[in-house]
């Protein structure tokens, strides 16, 4: 079964994500994700993540499909206007890409091309409606398509966002706009996540909890300081702090596996983020008992 079918059947799904390189040498990327075939239901391809310029998502998604893994095409609104976005969506469709994750995208000032014009012609909610339209055979201008798309569209939500209410409101808007699945930002606060899941129940939409592999105490501190909506508890940092090298990585894997074990009964699946260590995702899943 494909990703969409798995989710809609109620089976527990596992996704991971890969970030393409800045450059044309994809050998390392391929090496990291080869082992995920059969281990994950689908694999997200990030789109110039953190506003750092990398290979475009479309081309990367093709490489992934060639390896035999189903891609989830992440599309941000930062770099393309509505023409570019629709055009790329049609391109994705003819390439056989089925899943799209609609994102707003990080602001250019955070990345490595700080002076770039931030496009944001439309944003995530509107993009979801656009995808709906394309699925129904018309573009944003209302013009009929010669051949419609058939995308399974999703979006993201950040359960630990402060303040929470505006985030929740936007979450509902995304559902209303046609998001069929969600992946969350990294979860660490279990009780908060449980509360969130309680409130999300009424929307009846599959949610994949985000699990972020911590590779060191330093990484954890960096996340706390610089990444909004992610807050690693001190006890985890304390567990990682005294360890180095393979030991700390093993610890991180253990923590991630443990998190998955705690969550797997309340959500539709997990989205494992192990940037640069995608090949260890199977270890995490093993640690979780999956």
């Amino acid at each position: 079964m494909g990703f969409k079918e798995e989710i809609q059947s109620g089976n527990f799904v596992v996704t991971a994500e890969v970030g393409p390189p800045k450059g044309t040498d994809i050998s390392e990327m391929v090496h990291h994700i080869k082992g995920l075939k059969g281990k994950v239901t689908a694999l997200n391809v990030t789109d110039n993540q953190s506003a750092v310029m990398r290979i475009c998502t479309l081309a990367t998604a093709k490489e992934i499909m060639d390896i035999g893994i189903e891609p989830i095409y992440q599309m941000t609104c930062r770099d393309r206007n509505r023409l570019g976005l629709q055009s790329d969506l049609l391109g994705a469709a003819i390439m056989g890409i089925k899943n799209v994750l609609a994102l707003t995208g990080d602001h250019p000032v955070l990345g490595d091309h700080k002076d770039a014009k931030a496009v944001f012609d439309i944003e995530s909610v509107q993009l979801l409606e656009v995808i709906n339209g394309l699925n129904e055979g018309r573009d944003m201008a209302g013009l009929e398509l010669r051949g419609a798309t058939d995308f399974f569209a999703g979006a993201i939500v950040t359960p630990e966002s402060i303040p929470f209410e505006p985030q929740l409101a936007k979450f509902k808007k995304k559902v209303n706009a046609g998001a069929k699945f969600f992946q969350t930002q990294a979860i660490y606060d279990m009780p908060k996540f449980m509360t969130f899941m309680e409130r999300a129940k009424e929307l009846d939409v599959p949610i994949l909890a985000g699990i972020l592999l911590l590779k060191s105490a330093g990484m954890a501190k960096y996340l706390n300081k610089f990444v909004a909506g992610v807050s690693v508890p001190q006890e985890l940092i304390d567990q990682l702090a005294p360890l180095k090298g393979e030991d700390v990585l093993k610890k991180g894997i253990e923590i991630a596996g443990d998190q998955i074990a705690q969550l797997k009964d309340v959500c539709a699946g997990v989205h494992v983020m192990a940037i640069g260590a995608e090949d260890r995702v199977p270890d995490i899943l093993a640690a979780a008992g999956l």
Binding site: P163, P166, Q167
Partner: protein, 216 residues
């Protein structure tokens, strides 16, 4: 009002490098209010220019005039004695600078300021961007807080994932516009409107060599 910030003296010096007689013209409206282009700024900048030239062992004559506005031809009429000068440096906003350039087409006109935004005069010396002139005001839908100007990404349907404790992902000193909007609409009791999905902006109205013609 329109806010502008002063250009560095180096930049202005470079612009007028080939000239010995320059007229500096200030504007008595927006730029005077934001302490950048009024008579005082003209005096200080002209003095600085003169001193900087002297340090280089050269002279420059800098005339100083300030008119009430540089965006009306009638007020530009009050700029006098331009035949005595080889170039004009204007401290008005971009509109005024072009105004003076149109008024005196035979004189090179240089900008002495960088026009930045339309902003609010919060307190002495502090101004904040409030409007982008998008031409399609939706303040009635967002509790009176503009998402185009006050959200870094000009989003129209709620905060992005980068929202951080009420601050924007681009900087902790900047408020997240959508948290402001949410709080405002909560205060007004209009959160039901918050759930309405706002259509993408009509960027055709915000760009493209605009004008307004009320003559008919």
């Amino acid at each position: 009002m329109i806010v502008a910030e002063p250009k560095s003296l180096d930049e202005i010096e470079a612009m007028v490098d080939g000239y010995d007689r320059v007229l500096m013209v200030g504007c008595g409206t927006c730029v005077e209010v934001c302490l950048t282009g009024g008579e005082r700024s003209v005096n200080l900048t002209a003095t600085a220019l003169r001193l900087a030239r002297k340090v280089d062992g050269r002279d420059i004559e800098v005339g100083e005039q300030t008119v009430i506005r540089q965006c009306d031809f009638e007020y530009l009429d009050e700029v006098k004695d331009t035949d005595k000068y080889q170039a004009i440096v204007s401290l008005a906003c971009g509109v005024g600078i072009q105004g003076i350039a149109r008024k005196f087409p035979d004189l090179p006109v240089f900008p002495g300021v960088n026009t930045t935004f339309m902003g609010f005069n919060e307190e002495y010396g502090y101004y904040t961007e409030m409007c982008k002139g998008c031409g399609e005001c939706i303040l009635h839908l967002t509790g009176g807080v503009c998402p185009v100007a006050r959200c870094a990404k000009s989003l129209l349907n709620g905060p992005c994932g980068g929202t951080n404790n009420g601050k924007c992902e681009i900087g902790n000193d900047k408020d997240c516009g959508w948290v402001l909007i949410y709080n405002k609409m909560e205060q007004l009791g209009t959160l039901d409107k918050f759930m309405e999905i706002n259509m993408p902006k009509n960027y055709g109205k915000a760009g493209n060599i605009r004008s307004m013609d009320l003559r008919k």
